[in-house]
Subunit: 672 residues, 2 copies
C-alpha cells in the first residue's frame, strides 16, 4: 500500500489522491467537492453525512475494499444513538480514508443542492444561498493582546473556515460582546457573501442545529405577501400576508403618487407605513413558523417601482410623470432594518432590479421564475394585481409592460368585495336556464346547494369570486356583451333587481341577519375597466412583437392561482387561447423572490436578464387607449375569440334600450 | 517636426511623448502626473493651472521654443479677466502642446500636495484626501431607455472620469433625483474612495468652485473639539468645542461605565447624548465657517475606547473590567449620520483604530501626529485630559498606556475651576518674597498688576491656571512638598486664610460683587491625584522600556498647548527633563484626526502602526499603585528631579504639624 490513496466522489465525479488517514470532509474540501458542514468537522452538526461505497466500480476503474474507510467511531455511534444515521451513512468529518474509495454525497449534504419544491409548478429550486451558518470557537480576550472581539472572531473564521476579512456593521458590533460571552465563545455565525465579501449577519450560541431563515417578500400595492424560508434547503415554513397600509393614502399607485405631490412629506408617511407593515409581516411569519425574528438573517423583496421607491424612502414623484425616471434601476442590497424588517443584527435585504419606470422588480421576479427567455414557444405572462405586470416573450425576445388595472381584481371597489378570507365567495356557477347561482366559500369545500354546506357565515366576494360571478352572468345571459345587467323581465329571473337606474344580480340574501350579496352594475363596470387595462397591455406587447396569438398564457399574481382560466377568458382579461394552454403559475413574483433568496446565482441571472428585456411604455402609447376601449366589451368588441367560443356559451343578448339608462351611449366610440 | 512631441512635467520629472495638439491636462493624465481638475477639462474650475517653461533645459536635455504651446485662448482670457491668472500661468485643459515642452505643476494644482499648516508645529500636511469633487454632465432620462438616474450618473462618471462602479447608499438615492433636476443634470459629485471603491457622498449643482469640507473631531470625555477643514488643501476654516453632554452621567470614564452597569439602557442614553452633541458641533462649525452642513462630506473622529463604544452605540461594560476587551480594535468607516453628524447625504465617517482597551483612537492619533516611531531619540508624549494617554517610544519600540487622571486638569472638581473662557485666570505668578500674586485672564493680554488690565470681570481659574497656581504656590513656599497649604503665620501672608481645618490661598477677592477666587486644600489634593496618575503612567512605561530618563517630553491634549512646561515639572506631572526638551504639541490627537482627514495614506499608516505599539495595562499593574503613591509629593517623594532644581526654587518647607490637621498621616505609606 502506498501512502496516497485515491478517492472519487459521486455524483460530482471529482477525484484525486489524498494521504492515507485523511478524513472525508477534509478530502472533499481539498478536491472542491460540495460537502456541507456547519460545525467545521467537530462531529456535531451532521451536515457532512456521506455514504462510502464498496465493491467493484468498473466505470470508475476502481475496486473498493471493505476496510477502505475507518470503522464507525464513538462520535458517530453517539450521533446514531441520539439522532439516527441512515444505513451506510457516515459522518464525513469522522471517517478516515484508509484505501482507494468511492464516496457518495447525498443531495441533502450538498450546500448547492437542487430541491424540488411543492409549489404550484413543482419547481426545482437551485440552492446557492448567500448566507451560511458556520460554527467557530473564538479565542477569549487576553489583557496582554489588545485585539477586539471582532478581530478574534475574524481570526477564528480565517483559521477554522478560511473565511478572510469578514466585515460586520455597527448593528453586529453592538451585539457581538454579549453574544460571544453568553455562548462561552462558541458560536454559529451567519456569514453572508453575495459576491462582495463575507459579512457577519447573525450570531447564535453553540452549534446551530436548525437552519438559518430568510424572508421572500412580494410587496404589492394592496397586499404584502411573505414566505419564511429555511436557507438550507429552501423549504417554506410559513406564509402570510398583510394589507399594504398605504391603501389609506390611495388605492392604486398613481393615487399614491398624487398624494405625495399634494402633501409634502407624504412620501415619508407612506414609507413609514409600509416599513411598519414589513416589520409586522416578519413578526407574523416568525410566530407562525415558531422561530425568533432574530433567526431571520436575510430578506429578498420584489415590488413594483412605486412601492420600491416608497419602501426605500425615495420620493416617487418622478414615476408619476413622463419620462417615468427611476432613481435607480439596478438591484440593491442593504441592511434589512433600513426597510423595517425585524431580523438578526446585520441581516441583509436584497431587492431585485427593476425593468423600467413602470415595470418593477416584481416583473423581474416573474421573469426569473417563469423564464420565458428559456422557451421556444411564445409565452404571455400576466401578473394580476392592482398594477398588472405583463411579459411576452420567447428565446428570441422578451417584452414587458405594466398596466394600471386598479384594485377591482383584489375585491376592492366591488360593492360586496372583500379580501380572500373564510366566508368569502370564491367560486360561483349560474345555471344558464334557471339563472340560479350556487357558490363555494373559502373554508368550506361544499357547494352552497349541497346539504353538507350547512349554514356558515357568508361575508362577501373575493377577487376570484367576482371574476367568476361576472363571467357566469355573461354566460347565463344576465349580462350582455356591453356589460349591462338585464332587468328581471329581460333576463327572466327575479334575482335581477332594480338599483336606481340600473340593475343588480342577487347572489345571496341573508335576510334580516344579512348580508345581501349582489353584483351591481358598478361592479361590472369596475371589472370591465380592470380587465380592459389588462387586455390592452397584453395586446400592445403582441403588436410590438408582431403577433396576433400567443402559444400559452400564464396567470400569475398573489391570487393568480385562484383565477379560473375559462372565466378569465370569458371576461376577455386575456387574449384568446386554447384553454389547456392557459395555466396558473401561482404567485410567480413571490416564487421569483423565493428563488433569489435561495440562490446568488439566480440573482446574477436576473440582473443580467433585465437588461435584455424590452420595456413597452403603456402610458404614452396611443394604441393602448384604443385597445382599452375595444376591450371594454365582454369578451371583446372586435376580437373573435374563436377558442373561447368552442368551450363557453356567449349568448347574443342586449339589454341596451337606447334610452336614458346607464351606459346609454357610452361605449365603443372608437375602434382600435 | 514629427507628429509626436516630448513633454516633461516638473517637479515630478515625469516625461513622455504625446501627439502634437494634445492638451496639457490630457497629457498629464496619460503620463500619470498629479494635475488637479474638478470640471474635467471644461475650463471653469481653474484647478489645472500650470506654467509652461521656455528656453534651454540642459539637465532635461531639452530646448523649448516660445511657440511650444498654443496661445492663450478665449476661455483663458475670460478666466484671467474675471478671476485673474498669475503671470505665466495657463489652464492645463485649454493649452495645447505643439512642440517639446517643460511644464511646471505648482503645488496648488496637485491633488496630492504637501501643505505647511500653521499649527503649533508648523506641520507639513500630506494631502491625499479620500474625497474629491468631480464635475459631470449626466444624460437626461429617456422613456425608451429604462436605466435609473443613478445608472446614468454612473455612466457619466465612467465616461468622463474613468470612475467605474460607483456606489451610492440609500441616503444618496433619496436626494439624487431632485439634485440632478435642480442642477439641470450638471453637477459636481463628491466621490469618496478610501481604497474600497468609489462612492457618491455628495451632489452639488454646477461646477463647484469652492472646496468640499471635512470635520476632524477629537471626542474627549469632557470636551468635543472639532475643526472644519477644506479638503483641497487641508486648511482649517473653523474650530470649535462643545462640552461632552455625557458629563451629566459621570465626570470620568469609569463613572460612565458604572452608570451603564447600574442603569439598564444607560448606554443608549449616553449614545444619544453624544450624538446630539456631534450634530451641534457640526452645525456650529459650519455656521462659523459660513458653509452649509450639507457641504461637509466626511468626518474623522478620534476618541478613547469608552467614548468610541458609546459613540457607536456599543455597551462599554466590558471596558470597565479586566480584561478590558474591545468590541473591535480596527478602524471603522460608516455613514456619518450613524453618529449624529449632520453632513451631506452619503457623507462618511472614519474612526481611527484603537490601541487597546484603555488606549484609544485618540492615542493612535497622537502616535500619528507625533510619530515617535520615526525618531531616534526617546519621546514621552503625554496627552493630558480627563483620561491621559501616554506614549513612550523611539524607532526601536513604542509603548502606550492610559491613566485615569480625572477632570481636575480641565478645571473640574476645582473650587474656583471653570472652562477656558474669557474671564478665566490662565496664567499666574506669585512673588516668592511678598507671596503676592499677579495673573492674566483669558481675553486680556495684561497682567492683573498692570494699569492697562482695567477692571474686567474675573470669573474663575481654568485648567492651565490651576496648574500654574499650585506650582507657583510650591515655588513660593506656600505649599510644602506634601501638598499642604501653610497658615498665614507659617507662610507669612494674610492671603493664607483658614478654611475649616485646612487653609486656602486667596488669589483674588472681588469683594461684595465677587467672586472670591482661592486655591483650597481640596484643590491641591485634586491636582495631586491627577498628576500622580499621570506621572505613574509615564513611569510605568519607562520601567517597561528599562530607562530612568527620557530625551524629550511632549505635552499634548486639548489644552496641552496652554500648559507651562516649567510649572508642569514643578508639580511633578511629568518626569524630570531639561526644560528646553519639554515642548507642547497642542492638541496632538486633533492634529492626528486632521491628518487622517486629509490623507488616506495617513490612515493606512496608523492602521499598520497600532499593531506595532505595545500596550501597557496600568489598571492591573501593581507598580502603578506604588508609582502613584510616590508621585503624590510635589514634585516627587523619591525622584530627585535634578533638571528641575536647576531652574526652579523648591523651598524645603513643611507645614505638617503632626497633629490632627488634614493629611496628618496619609502620605507615603509605601515606596516603589
Amino acid at each position: 500500500m502506498t501512502e496516497d490513496v485515491q478517492v472519487i466522489f459521486t455524483p460530482s465525479g471529482k477525484r484525486g489522491r489524498v494521504a492515507r488517514g485523511t478524513r472525508v470532509l477534509a478530502a472533499a474540501r481539498k478536491l472542491g467537492v460540495d460537502l456541507d458542514s456547519v460545525c467545521g468537522g467537530r462531529g456535531v452538526c451532521s451536515k457532512c453525512q456521506c455514504t462510502p461505497s464498496f465493491g467493484d466500480f468498473p466505470k470508475l476503474g476502481l475496486h473498493v475494499e471493505p476496510g477502505a474507510v475507518s470503522p464507525i467511531n464513538a462520535v458517530e455511534e453517539r450521533y446514531d444513538r441520539i439522532r439516527g444515521l441512515k444505513p451506510g451513512r457516515r459522518l464525513g468529518c469522522q471517517t478516515e480514508i484508509l484505501d482507494d474509495v468511492v464516496i457518495d454525497v447525498p443531495p441533502e449534504s450538498q450546500v448547492h443542492k437542487q430541491v424540488v419544491r411543492k409549489a404550484a409548478s413543482e419547481r426545482v429550486m437551485e440552492m446557492d444561498p448567500a448566507t451560511r451558518p458556520v460554527y467557530v470557537e473564538v479565542a477569549e480576550p487576553d489583557m496582554h493582546r489588545p485585539e477586539g472581539d471582532l478581530q478574534r472572531l475574524s481570526q477564528a473564521l480565517e483559521k477554522q473556515w478560511q473565511i478572510k476579512g469578514v466585515r460586520a456593521d455597527l448593528d453586529v458590533l453592538r451585539i457581538l460582546q454579549p453574544a460571544l460571552r453568553k455562548a462561552d465563545w462558541k458560536v454559529t455565525v451567519a456569514i453572508h457573501d453575495a459576491g462582495d465579501g463575507p459579512r457577519v449577519t447573525g450570531i447564535f450560541p453553540g452549534v446551530r442545529e436548525v437552519p438559518l431563515y430568510g424572508l421572500a417578500i412580494d410587496l404589492g400595492s394592496t397586499t404584502i405577501a411573505g414566505h419564511l424560508v429555511a436557507l438550507d434547503d429552501g423549504r417554506v415554513l410559513a406564509s402570510a400576508g398583510v394589507m399594504n397600509p398605504q391603501i389609506r393614502f390611495g388605492e392604486d399607485l398613481m393615487s399614491r403618487v398624487s398624494y405625495v405631490m399634494m402633501n409634502p412629506g407624504g412620501d415619508q408617511e407612506m414609507t413609514n407605513a409600509v416599513r411598519d407593515a414589513m416589520g409586522d409581516l416578519a413578526r407574523q411569519l416568525a410566530e407562525e413558523a415558531k422561530v425568533e425574528t432574530g433567526e431571520i438573517v436575510e430578506a429578498v423583496v420584489v415590488c413594483n417601482p412605486v412601492m420600491h421607491h416608497l419602501l426605500l424612502g425615495i420620493d416617487p414623484v418622478e414615476l408619476g410623470q413622463a419620462p417615468f425616471a427611476l432613481a435607480t434601476s439596478e438591484s440593491l442590497e442593504f441592511a434589512a432594518r433600513e426597510i423595517g424588517i425585524e431580523a438578526s443584527a446585520g441581516a441583509r435585504a436584497y431587492i431585485l432590479p427593476l425593468i423600467a419606470g413602470h415595470v418593477g422588480a416584481d416583473a423581474a421576479a416573474v421573469a426569473l421564475s417563469e423564464a420565458p427567455q428559456k422557451r421556444d414557444d411564445l409565452s404571455l405572462i400576466v401578473d394580476v394585481g392592482t398594477n398588472a405586470e405583463i411579459i411576452l416573450g420567447n428565446k428570441q425576445r422578451v417584452l414587458a409592460c405594466s398596466s394600471p388595472t386598479g384594485p377591482a381584481f383584489e375585491g376592492a371597489q366591488i360593492s360586496s368585495g372583500q379580501r380572500a378570507a373564510p366566508g368569502a365567495i370564491e367560486r360561483i356557477e349560474i345555471d344558464p336556464e334557471t339563472k340560479e347561482p350556487r357558490f363555494k366559500i373559502i373554508g368550506n369545500e361544499h357547494w352552497s346547494t349541497d346539504p353538507e354546506f350547512g349554514t356558515p357565515r357568508i361575508t362577501g366576494i373575493c377577487g376570484s369570486g367576482i371574476i367568476e360571478a361576472v363571467a357566469e352572468m355573461r354566460m347565463a345571459g344576465i349580462v350582455d356583451t356591453s356589460g349591462l345587467i338585464g332587468s328581471a323581465e329581460q333576463v327572466g329571473t327575479p334575482r335581477c333587481e332594480p338599483n336606481g337606474r340600473t340593475h343588480e344580480y342577487v347572489i345571496y340574501d341573508g335576510g334580516e341577519e344579512g348580508p345581501r350579496i349582489t353584483v351591481t352594475q358598478g361592479d361590472i363596470r369596475a371589472i370591465q375597466l380592470a380587465k380592459s387595462a389588462l387586455y390592452a397591455g397584453a395586446r400592445l406587447l403582441m403588436d410590438e412583437m408582431g403577433v396576433d396569438t400567443v402559444d400559452r398564457v400564464v396567470l400569475a399574481g398573489a391570487f393568480g392561482a385562484h383565477i379560473s382560466p375559462k372565466h378569465a377568458m370569458v371576461l376577455g382579461m386575456i387574449p384568446d387561447a386554447p384553454l389547456d394552454r392557459v395555466t396558473s403559475a401561482g404567485n410567480a413574483a413571490g416564487t421569483g423572490a423565493h428563488m433569489a433568496l435561495c440562490s446568488v446565482k439566480a440573482r446574477r441571472e436576473i440582473e443580467a436578464q433585465v437588461h435584455q428585456i424590452t420595456k413597452v411604455e403603456t402610458a404614452i402609447e396611443p394604441r393602448f387607449q384604443e385597445h382599452f376601449v375595444a376591450a371594454n366589451a365582454l369578451p371583446h368588441a372586435t376580437a373573435p375569440f374563436p377558442e373561447l367560443r368552442k368551450i363557453a356559451p356567449l349568448p347574443e343578448v342586449s339589454f341596451n334600450t337606447g334610452g336614458s339608462g346607464e351606459d346609454g351611449g357610452r361605449r365603443r366610440r372608437r375602434r382600435g
